[in-house]
Amino acid sequence: MTPIQKPSQVFDAVQRAKAGAAAFCTNFFPVESKLRGWIDHGELFAELRNGVAFFFRKDRDFLRFYFCAADVATLQREIAAWPGLKTEHVITDLVGNESTVNDLVSALEPAGFGRHTQLQRLVRTGRSESATDNPRVGFAEKADGRAVLGLIEDAFDRYGEQLPMLYEIEQAIEGRQILAARRDGELAGLLFFETQGLASTVRFWAVAEKFRDLKTGSALIRHYFKIHGAVRRFTLWVNARNENAIQKYRHFGYAPDGLIDQVLANRLIPA
């Protein structure tokens, strides 16, 4: 695996894999600003194999695997031949509708990948409801970084849900992308979002265990909608088995749009 030094290396490798591809397949949708962060922190690596581009992002103690291949058969051949699959802890995400994703799962299973978890995308359209101010909710502050990371790591699956690193949390706090709810001087809950133009995505919404059933989560999401009055499309990804969370999102107007994220793990990742 070769460390990536600049985003153009990624785009060049993707273009080479795409050139002349009859049925190009990929699970890599890079956004330049994110790529820069990964590269600056030495997290991104590539391996080019017979016209297929593999990318790996180091995430905590495992690798996130992305591929760009001319077709599924080429992908299947090259992933089976990649020796790292037997020595590294590897996770990969396949995004699409159920049938597209299942085709790719069938291609990756023989190489040693198995289903880890499934996320589903929920969408809410239309104007936001108005809400009254809640004095306990405001933007997270610089000093909250580690507490935010701790709450996210406690509440979510690090393999399945693409948890941010501390530096990403610090950037998000600086960019006013994390709402914090406080009780008794402690971080009781958070809502981490990304907004672009008329669309906004909730990345994480969590309440610390000892502060549940106090309407903390409700206060956070109502405040989130309140500050996004111009947004017309709200999205998020949720673990498909987390019925409690899905029920809450439905209550606030979200509904599945048919897009799923099937998270696969190799055999070294615990089930």
Binding site: K18, V95, G126, T195, S200, R233, L259
Partner: protein
């Protein structure tokens, strides 16, 4: 045959595509929408947009999409 605007509105009915100069910067189309849009454009005009042309710059607004269609052999 549908127009580009009709196709865009079918994919994202909540947005007014005539009011934007940059669909990507305005958050009206994400990377997953581009896949759906390319399939719809291919079907509507009987063309096959090249993989190397599926980049955000080609989907910024109506003019760039129509330019892509012309490049791919369609007459929008």
């Amino acid at each position: 045959m549908k127009t580009v605007i009709e196709i865009l509105t079918e994919i994202r009915p909540e947005f007014d595509f005539t009011a934007s100069r940059d669909f990507i910067a305005d958050g009206m189309l994400d990377s997953f929408d581009l896949v759906t849009l390319v399939a719809a454009l291919d079907k509507n005009w009987g063309i096959s947009i090249q993989g190397t042309d599926i980049v955000p710059e080609n989907f910024q607004n109506l003019q760039t999409i129509e330019g892509l269609l012309r490049k791919s052999g369609a007459k929008p």
